[in-house]
Symmetry: C2
Subunit: 153 residues, 2 copies
DNA sequence: TCAATAATTGGAATTATTCTAAATAAGGCC
DNA sequence: GGCCTTATTTAGAATAATTCCAATTATTGA
């Protein structure tokens, strides 16, 4: 039931699909075409879309997908470590499929989020007693070049 | 119209109030008793309350304050640099009146947020071209001692 | 004291997400 | 391939957090 006419290179597509299936499986999730399409939508444009952005993008390939399913799929992808959830300001949660070590520059005017690769240093900090660290997140807030320019006028 | 019977030391109270008034004024805000009470509520307990927590706490001293006003006051306090807004997970925004340099340890199980003072180093990173940095925020996610203990069983 | 305007208020509206229960689809087994 | 078990999907209702609104009230400066 694989939809043809997909713009992605066939071999590459199959490889990504295989990797996705494997990841899902090791977390006890089933491989569904909804999950594949949602993941595809995330990888197509590496901005940091909201669940609703992902919904609209996925709809183009799979017009009958539901809102609730997009939320479910995103949760599954986050759960099995293929996608990061980012929450830098109030409002809709954003999703980032770039799993490399990076921090986020966030324009507080237009909401654009930039990935910036970080130097591999361990920023040792004294944790609260007994705190079990899972991961950390560095966010730099300010104005993007564009918004900074507009504001000066 | 200052309500008496406040548990806070009188001289100290007056000092905080003066400082608050000054800060508000320099940002073009008026000094209202609602803003004073909201700020008091934030300073009384240095956890990281949600707007609704602040609402309930403020209500004890000022039973007629409205929900909308608490949101307005918090926005004003954030605007004039007396309070930080923190958004570490999905859900209600949290407010932090500790304006010293610190990062946040956030328990993803119970939601508790711990302040940890940071070493005064500048974590130089290559900003995206033209990005105008305002501030940054470091968040460490994981489990607090308590929740980590409960989960092991 | 008075006028101008900023702030407060209760309630309605909006936004983003989660919940629910019925229908459908995956994956393992014969 | 067909069947069974169980996970997933689905539409729509429900919820949570916040913002908006328009009328009232309070603050400030002249
Ligand atoms: Mn990212
Ligand atoms: Mn804090
Ligand atoms: Zn911008
Ligand atoms: Zn905890």
């Amino acid at each position: 039931m694989t939809k043809l006419g997909c713009p992605m290179n066939l071999a590459e597509h199959t490889e990504l699909e295989r990797a996705l299936g494997e990841r899902l499986a090791t977390s006890g999730f089933r491989f569904t075409s909804q999950r594949r399409h949602v993941y595809d939508a995330l990888l197509q444009t590496l901005d940091h879309p909201t669940a609703d952005d992902v919904f609209m993008r996925t709809k183009r390939q799979m017009p009958d997908i539901s809102h609730a399913t997009v939320y479910n799929c995103l949760a599954a992808l986050v759960h099995c470590g293929l996608v990061r959830q980012v929450q830098l300001q109030r409002g809709a949660t954003r999703y980032c499929p770039n799993m490399e070590r990076h921090c986020h520059y966030c324009c507080d005017e237009c909401g654009t989020i930039f990935d910036v690769t970080m130097p591999a240093e361990t920023p040792t900090m004294p944790s609260p007693k007994g705190f079990q660290v899972d991961h950390y997140e560095i966010a730099v807030h300010g104005l993007c070049a564009n918004c900074a320019g507009l504001r000066k006028k």
